[in-house]
Symmetry: C2
Subunit: 228 residues, 2 copies
DNA sequence: GCGTTAATATGAGTATACTCATTTTTTGGG
DNA sequence: CCCAAAAAATGAGTATACTCATATTAACGC
């Protein structure tokens, strides 16, 4: 019964043809399989939601055996988490390519960054709630709140720290150091949580909250006043 | 059933003191069963951890059928969550009975409260990580970050708000309103997360962080200075 | 007591994330 | 080409949270 599926269509048309290129057949096929899984998962999650999508369905749609899926992703949640990591990275890249944003004052910068990120993960809204919380789990590599435990090797944390360092250098902010990174991470998490709960049109409440929080923080830090 | 004493039932006659005690057999047995479940669960969670404890084991230890467990708690996680709600309530009660704490300035007050809470949930440490995150889930009743969605009916939020109101009244803090409640809730969550990751002796790192955060916040708010 | 109704208990059954021993495919050396 | 080892795929099997139709028990009016 096996074998009916994957059959490499092209037998080798002799060894000469395929001169072991850099990728190699194996690596290439692996990549493709992974892509198929991700496509299938994304489509199904979007259509039926994270919980109602079974790993069996995903495998079928990706045309692989169910077990294979777990060779690529340790758990179903890891599979979903993949999208956020990707988007986060995209967001970081975006930042470093946009001179205007980079030059802006801290509050504007943070506002733009968060807004950008929220825009990007919008499609995953339905299932992000089910999954992003995992990132807070004590052992998770994505946990922005376990700074002292893990040695700041993680991309995302490094990014936050870079932004903060720059602001400290420009004296936009007092030298908070680690503490600041932690606080920023926490604040981001708060916004994300609020966003998840936000039923307002175009998530405007979240943006309003974000704006208010940044303005307030800025004003408190700069002039020690709270009349905003 | 109980004695065969005829009990000429009367239609109404509310005055009938006949039925000895208020509880009634049913309510009583229900209470006992619930208690048995909680005891069994607590012991097993403590001994084997949340994930390795099966609902079957819990039922057996509580001497009930497996299905019965789910008549009392919708999910296994709800069962675990029960302990936190209880401890939180205990904590709130403790606060209102301690005049000294109530009279203290806000930072000391918050420090004492959090420390007290952490002390109390210490025994559940092993499994709290697995479960408390659920509280952040968009729909959760415990989510301290979904203020505007849910109308502040929840005990815990009300408590935070009361404390903040009082501080605002005493002018220890500017009138932040809802915003303040949200921020406090978020801060508490941050501490809890840090605590979960804290491997230091006696969780002293967490206490240090808490102290630092409160001192800093206080100083920034009061004098607009950040030399602390 | 007896009958009726509603609450509660039951445990076999279901769904599904994940495992693992086995099979298939790829690679690379002779 | 062929073979052996490594990598990857496979799908039947497992574990377990949770459901549900049925059975048991309590409550209460007569």
């Amino acid at each position: 019964m096996a074998t009916s599926t994957k059959r490499p269509a092209r037998k080798q048309s002799t060894s000469s043809r395929s001169t072991k290129k850099a990728p190699g057949k194996r690596a290439k096929s692996k990549e493709q399989t992974k892509a198929r899984i991700l496509n299938a998962a994304l489509e199904l999650f979007g259509k039926k939601g994270f919980y109602k999508t079974t790993t069996k369905e995903i495998s079928q749609k990706a045309r692989i055996a169910e077990g294979t899926l777990f060779n690529y992703f340790k758990t179903k949640e890891d599979l979903a988490l993949y999208f956020f990591e990707t988007e986060l990275q995209t967001c970081i890249d975006w930042y470093y390519k946009d001179d205007y944003v980079q030059a802006a004052p801290l509050p504007e910068k943070l506002f733009a960054l968060v807004q950008h990120y929220l825009d990007r993960i919008e499609p995953y809204q339905e299932f992000i709630g089910a999954v992003y919380l995992r990132a807070l789990q004590p052992r998770s590599k994505l946990n922005p709140l376990s700074l002292e435990v893990q040695e700041l090797r993680i991309r995302e944390l490094k990014f936050i720290r870079d932004i903060l360092d720059e602001a400290e250098e420009k004296e936009e902010v007092p030298p908070f150091g680690e503490f600041g990174v932690y606080a920023l991470g926490l604040g981001f998490m708060g916004i994300l949580t609020y966003w998840l709960n936000d039923r307002s049109e175009g998530k405007e409440n979240t943006l309003a909250l974000l704006d208010r929080a940044l303005t307030l923080a800025n004003s408190v830090l700069r002039q020690g006043g709270w009349e905003w």
